[in-house]
Amino acid sequence: VTAVVDDLDFDTAPGEQPAAGVDDRVDGALAAVAALGLGPTLVGGALDLTGDHPVAAPAGGWEPLLARIVAEGLSGLFLDAADRGLVALGDDARRELVRRHEAVLVRALRHEAELFRLAPVLEDAGAVVLKGPGLAHGVYAHAEQRPFTDLDVLVDADHVRATVRALERLGYERPWPDPTPRYLELVAKAVCLGHPAGLTVDLHRTLVPGPLAERIPTGDILGRRTTVTAGRLVIPVPAWEDHLLECALHGAVGHGFQRPLALRDVAQILLAAPVDHTRVVRTAEQWGAAWMLALTLDHLVARFAVALPAELADWRRAFRPTDDEAHLAEACLGTERSARLRMAELREGSWRRRLELARSLAAPSVAFLRHTYGSGSVPALYAARWRELGGRRPSRTRPSAPASSSARAGHGTGAAW
């Protein structure tokens, strides 16, 4: 079941595998960097940021850690720590980090500038921009602390196809054809479009893949949208309560709590945005995402030493997941979560979506088969597909539809933030 068309947006870096368990997933040193400025406890791995003296280079020098810090989108936070004297980077390491950080900023800037051009498209679709630029300008102390590598846009399922067409008119391209006619509207969490200028738009119709998505009313999120202003740019974003839950789901379902920046996003909204905590809980319960929220809060306390607002802390203490929530969390957070989620997608939820998904797996369009398996007779292409479904790797001339946005659109961006 893992070897199927996979539009799940896990944003997982190539080769990265989720570790077992929930509590040991966040790399200690990266978590310490991601927690900078949030709380008093900043110890992780080889990095102890609690002392009075600047932290010296870890064994092996700065390079391995800096590479991971940049790859995880934490270079802005780390540079701030160096500027505040928490870290003794040294001139060479600092220069190198600044160089890489600027490259990260340029990528974010190119995407952010594109929002001027996309504004009419977003307006027509009643869309919101998730994460990246809205968080950078809305809740982070400095936008430089929150880089991003693509634009995540949420539209209602009814608008997704028209929005794809509007983006195509602006020069965006889809990396592969739909496997089934209603795949975009019913199955795909998002469709990724790439622009030859190196820009990527992840166009979402919902926040998470699978049956959980059916309980999340995209229309309500869009109806509650607000804006964040950055100079002359006005960015439509979800209401902060919705955005907090989106970030929590992204960190939990998307990254299995492995991505420190995703947790930092939740903490940053919690601490910096005008959030109605009662509404957060009520919405999480409505979405069937209360257990994901509870686990996220646990991570914020355990990893980032975040002092939760009393209302949320009380709710967390009293909260117990239902069997359904626990089951779904197991699918999302366990090892082989992609396969588990796919199985959950096939077993649960609306018949229309499940039929469309089953059809996309067993009888996708010929155009999709040709894109995925290369040239050949139609019977041979279907045979390749079914062999793959059966767990045998087919011989093919092209890679299968990629499972992560890092490979999508042919832009090879690494993990998206």
Binding site: E112, R117, G231
Partner: protein, 103 residues
């Protein structure tokens, strides 16, 4: 052809995305994808931030001259030259007399 900038010219921020650097700022103008990345360094960021769509360049130059204890005439000439460069790069826009920066 635009007339040259002078002390009465008013400039506002362009449709740009920008980020702070330790020694300046990075900006990308928005109209076209893959636009040029502009590095603003030295005294450039101070001037760029001062282009608020309200104050004429003469007033901005006077403020900079006082801050840097420099010859106001020289500063005004430098400000007009640099502001022209910002216009050319799309990171600033000229505000018509009596107008405000377009949203």
């Amino acid at each position: 052809v635009r007339p040259p900038l002078d002390a009465t010219s008013v400039l506002g921020p362009g449709r740009v995305a920008h980020r702070r650097l330790h020694d300046g700022a990075l900006a990308v103008a928005g109209p076209e994808p893959g636009g040029e990345v502009v590095r603003i360094a030295g005294t450039g960021p101070a001037l760029w931030r001062a282009l608020d769509g309200q104050r004429p360049l003469g007033e901005v130059a006077h403020e900079l001259a006082v801050r840097h204890r420099a010859d106001p005439t020289v500063v005004l000439a430098d400000v007009c030259t640099t502001a022209q460069r910002y216009l050319d790069l799309g990171v600033a826009e000229l505000v018509p007399p009596g107008g405000a920066t377009a949203p």
